[in-house]
Amino acid sequence: MLLLLLGIVLLHIVALVLLLVSTIVSVWTSNDTGTSDLWYNCSTATGGHHCNPASTGEWIQAVQALMILSIIFSVLSLVLFFCQLFTLQKGGRFFLTGTFQILASLFVMSGAIIYTVMSPEWVPKDDTYGYSYILAWVAFPLALISGLIYVILRKRE
């Protein structure tokens, strides 16, 4: 029983850490000379490491907002899980926790989709996707599975 609980919390925390790394580290696009998005464009082209703020288009700001919202909802879901663990009746389901975690996964999904569709507008063609982008796509199914587990899980004494 305790093992199951630890496993679920571990899954949640792994998803949260992936979300944090994906949002904070600015490596959604990378090429030979540098990395860019979400927050900074860093390049080593002109000798030395230079970082400039990323372009201020509407779509990149939407992706920033959705990633931040997904982190907020995932943290809220973790807090709610511990609250409901102690206050829920026997046999009750962790609906609220699951809802928040599923919402977080939906936000990551829409952020990654928006970035995929709109990034050709400001990213040169021969740039590849960086590891932050990949982590965002990995975090989406992890958060979704974690949320579904919460919805299915029943509280036992």
Binding site: P53, L66, L69
Partner: protein, 213 residues
């Protein structure tokens, strides 16, 4: 002896700040404007001295990508001299108030070639030691959205909706609980009236309230 020391320290306090003070000039850091519009470049200064009659303001302009700067405005001896030969001919106007330490200029009908750095230098004799301050002008066809506006708006709207839903949920729970409370009281009240007509042989039932589970 003590009085001499006190007088000396007062004199030193009086002299030393005057030697280390400097004039501090304030302009903006960056200005954004649309092509064809007018822009007011503000310049003011802080000085420990009173504003003298010989206060001077001068603006110089350095285009983007160039290393030379040219003078475009000078105010001295109570008269303003605007650019009459350079890139701002007939487009520059002095809108400042020197007695209020304001040396702002107005540039009309902006063009893309006006992109560059404008430097304001003010002198308030005898306070002349200071560093000129520069403001960068960026001329756009369409004013871009500032970084973070849309981000903040989306986050604010979603969190606001969340708080609203939570508030409405708790309000509904509170209201439904109150409705149950009032229904029970009215039932017991009717029974009580019938009992008083029968010479009070009937004792009123205890009032119990069922909280909503």
């Amino acid at each position: 002896m003590l009085t001499v020391l006190a007088l000396m320290s007062v004199a030193l306090l009086g002299i030393v700040p005057e030697q280390t003070e400097a004039i501090v000039i304030y302009t903006g850091w960056e200005r954004h404007a649309l092509v064809g519009s007018d822009i007011r470049l503000a310049c003011s200064f802080f000085s420990w001295r009173w504003t003298s009659e010989d206060v001077t303001f001068s603006w110089t302009y350095r285009p983007d990508g160039s290393r030379d700067s040219i003078s475009i405005f000078h105010y001295t001896g109570g008269a303003a001299y605007v650019d009459n030969k350079g890139p701002f001919m007939d487009r520059l106007e002095f809108v400042g108030n020197p007695s209020r330490r304001d040396g702002s200029i107005l540039i009309k009908n902006l063009e893309f070639s006006d992109n560059g750095t404008f430097t304001c230098d003010a002198k308030n004799p005898p306070d002349i030691v200071g560093r000129p301050s520069s403001v960068r002008l960026l001329v756009f066809e369409k004013v871009p959205i500032q970084a973070g506006v849309i981000t903040g708006a989306i986050i604010g709207v979603v969190l606001g909706l969340l708080i609203l839903i939570v508030a409405i949920y708790y309000l509904m729970r509170f209201l439904v609980a109150r409705r149950v409370f009032s229904i029970n009281v009215s039932k017991h009240g009717k029974k009580k009236k019938e009992g008083s007509q029968q010479k009070q042989l009937w004792t009123p039932p205890p009032v119990t309230l069922y909280p909503l589970p």
